[in-house]
């Protein structure tokens, strides 16, 4: 591979790592700050990706044997363009909204109950979403998938340089989300979330409506995951139900958050780059290390090892001391 090839590879790598970092941030809101155990990230991933893709893609073309019934065609709708592809942001917003609504429903049912009910419910949602898109061909073309998903600002740069542009886009969105989450968790609201994570009974006893805060945090995290799904859809530009297998759409993200440092937003982003680096880097290694199944196994070992040996991950949670404690 020549130098330009390597740079192109790294740019492609950075786009995916940054999209994963968005999911790790969302999971950090769930698990890192609030202690919500979501093992169905793949469900929100798929919902976000499909929502944005379906809203922006051209209507189905019978000549291409497309079986689905609806494409929002936002990318070709003139008043949504304004010369800056405004539709892209509307797609992100739609993805975020759908994930938020689903999180509201699931959270409303399960967040009053034991902690681990949420885990099972999110697992159920992920499986239901997968089965829906697999079986309901009218919704999104079934296993043939959607393959005419539009790209943001296509035509602004030549196709071979497009990835540079999209990397900037993803990094801008990631930074905005990072600042939003940082601000949220540093606020009194975030302090309540951490109180709930540490001791739910004490938080309840201090007069906090634990259910409400948990529900808000669950929706917030799911909204971020929806945005991540949309970013993914317009990068890969092909979606099928097989894209969202639990390994690459849930487990890897858990490993990223645990490795980087649960409860630390910088850690979540760092973890995404480190774990995605290990994941993609090991495929060049000789022998068993490049076997995808072995790498699958190692993702599990990594999660257990972090919990046992270094529960704080690489960075660990930042100590946040209130102003009241200073004086």
């Amino acid at each position: 591979m020549d130098a330009i090839g390597i740079v192109n590879y790294l740019v492609g790598f950075a786009i995916m790592a940054a999209i994963y970092a968005v999911f790790a941030l969302g999971l950090n809101v769930h698990w890192g700050f609030t202690g919500l155990f979501n093992i169905g990230i793949a469900g929100f991933f798929a919902l976000g990706a499909y929502t944005s893709a379906l809203m922006t893609t051209k209507p189905p073309d019978p000549a291409l044997f497309e079986d689905f019934v609806f494409g929002g065609n936002w990318s070709e709708t003139h008043f949504l363009d304004l010369g800056i592809d405004l539709w892209f942001f509307l797609g992100l917003a739609a993805a975020a909204a759908v994930c938020g609504i689903i999180a509201l429903i699931i959270g409303y049912v399960t967040l009053r109950l034991r902690d681990d009910y949420l885990a099972i419910a999110t697992l159920g949602i992920a499986e239901t979403v997968r089965l829906f898109f697999l079986n309901e061909k009218w919704a999104a073309n079934g296993s043939k998938g959607l393959y005419r998903i539009p790209a943001f600002l296509e035509g602004w740069v030549s196709p071979e340089h497009y990835d540079y542009l999209y990397l900037v886009v993803v990094l801008v969105v990631l930074s905005a989300l990072f600042l939003a989450v940082e601000r949220a968790v540093k606020s009194p609201w975030g302090r309540v979330l951490r109180a709930i994570r540490e001791d739910e009974v004490a938080a309840e006893a201090s007069g906090k409506n634990v259910f409400r805060f948990k529900l808000q945090a669950f929706i917030f995290g799911a909204v971020i995951m929806g945005v991540g799904g949309a970013l993914f859809a317009h990068n890969i530009r092909f979606l099928s139900p097989l894209t969202f297998d639990p390994l690459l759409a849930t487990f890897v993200i858990w490993a990223m958050l645990m490795v980087g440092g649960s409860g630390n937003n910088r850690g979540a982003i760092l973890g995404a780059f480190v774990v995605w680096g290990i994941w993609t880097g090991t495929q060049f290694l000789p022998g068993i290390f490049s076997d995808p199944n072995f790498r699958f196994f190692m993702i599990g070992v990594l999660i257990v090892a972090v919990i046992l040996l270094r529960p704080g991950g690489i960075l660990g949670e930042e100590r946040r001391i209130t102003r009241a404690a200073d004086s």
């Binding site: 885990a119 099972i120 697992l123 499986e127 089965l131 309840e204 858990w254 790498r295 999660i303 046992l308």
Partner: protein, 340 residues
């Protein structure tokens, strides 16, 4: 606050007004729907329920005693199925133990040897994993949900291991084609299903006897009820936990082998996909309650099977999930959990 109260492994059952109403509603619903349902689906659902029951009873016992959701339970099933595959296709033939088509069954007598061996191997593995991982976390006094998180890591690692050793391809036990039993009402029962039902009944009765008649069973129930009280009353909780894993993982491995026989194939993801029916059964029956899990398993098995009369069969896990959500909305502590 129901969330604050410890869930209790109850082995007694009382008819409260709420339960009577529920039973009447359920009976009316079932009686009303019965004429429209194919008998064969109900029968098939009972067999599926038997497999769910074996997994769910172990899961609920672990839930009750150790107070965490064992996300790896489905992968203990997968492990059991694949250990049996290794024995049937790798180890046994080396010693001349081979054969399929025992009587009306698709498999041969080697499976009868492989089944307990696979259960023993997985049970031993589960005890080792407890010592290596979960016990340390318990001693550190971490939140139960962190232990569940660790079990997610274990689940991923186990499935990865299965794929490394046996590849991700579909496999099956050595089998011979067999005719199904034809019964009235267009009911067809594969002979293998009868075997599954027999194994399940024997094991469920066995677990019942262990829990009610042995000292260890009483100690397990006491620990599930109140671990601290059990400890100060001189119960060796370490031993209880060990037996808990042996029984739970052994049942799971058995369920895995039976599932592989039932579906006539093995896939590394089979156990993970089975988690939803398992947890649905456990939650339906009330966490920590083995009787509840048993009833919940048959409810889930029959309803998800019967649902295929109207909706696409591949939605079965979604049906189990939907039932679970409805139950959580109406009775958050399960049908057999205490109200409130």
């Amino acid at each position: 606050m129901p969330t604050l109260k410890n869930t209790v492994a109850r082995l007694s059952f009382k008819w409260t007004p709420g339960r009577i109403t529920l039973a009447i509603v359920a009976a009316v619903l079932v009686a009303g729907l019965l004429p429209f349902v194919k008998m064969s689906l109900i029968v098939n659902g009972v067999f599926l329920g038997a497999i769910i029951a074996l997994g769910a009873i172990g899961l609920t016992l672990i839930y009750g005693v150790l107070n965490f959701a064992n996300i790896a339970h489905g992968d203990y099933m997968t492990m059991g199925a694949y250990v049996a595959l290794f024995l049937l296709t790798g180890a046994f033939p080396a010693f001349g133990i081979e054969g399929e088509g025992l009587g009306p069954l698709t498999f041969g007598y080697p499976l009868l040897i492989a089944l307990p061996l696979a259960a023993a191997v997985v049970a031993a593995g589960a005890v080792l994993l407890d010592v290596a991982i979960y016990r340390r976390l318990r001693q550190r006094g971490v939140n139960a949900v962190v232990i569940a998180m660790a079990s997610l890591g274990v689940a991923i690692a186990l499935r990865g291991l299965v794929q490394v050793i046996w590849s991700g391809e579909t496999q099956h036990y050595p089998r011979e084609f067999r005719q199904v039993f034809r019964l009235p009402l267009d009911v067809r029962i594969p002979p293998d299903s009868v075997f599954i039902a027999v194994v399940a009944v024997v094991l469920v009765v066995g677990v019942y006897l262990v829990l009610t008649r042995t000292k260890m069973g009483k100690a397990m129930r006491a620990t599930a009820d109140n671990p601290n009280l059990a400890l100060v009353s001189g119960i060796d909780t370490q031993r209880v936990i060990r037996w808990n894993w042996i029984i739970g993982a052994g049942l799971a491995a058995t369920a895995g082998v039976l599932l592989a026989v039932f579906q006539a194939q093995l896939l590394p993801i089979m156990g993970w996909r089975f988690l939803i029916p398992l947890f649905a059964a456990v939650i339906l029956g009330g966490i920590g309650n083995p009787y509840g899990a048993l009833v919940g398993a048959f409810v889930i098995g029959v309803t998800s099977e019967v649902s295929t009369q109207w909706i696409n069969p591949s939605y079965k896990p979604a049906v189990a999930f939907a039932i679970m959500i409805v139950v959580l909305l109406m009775r958050p502590r399960g049908i057999f959990g205490d109200s409130g």
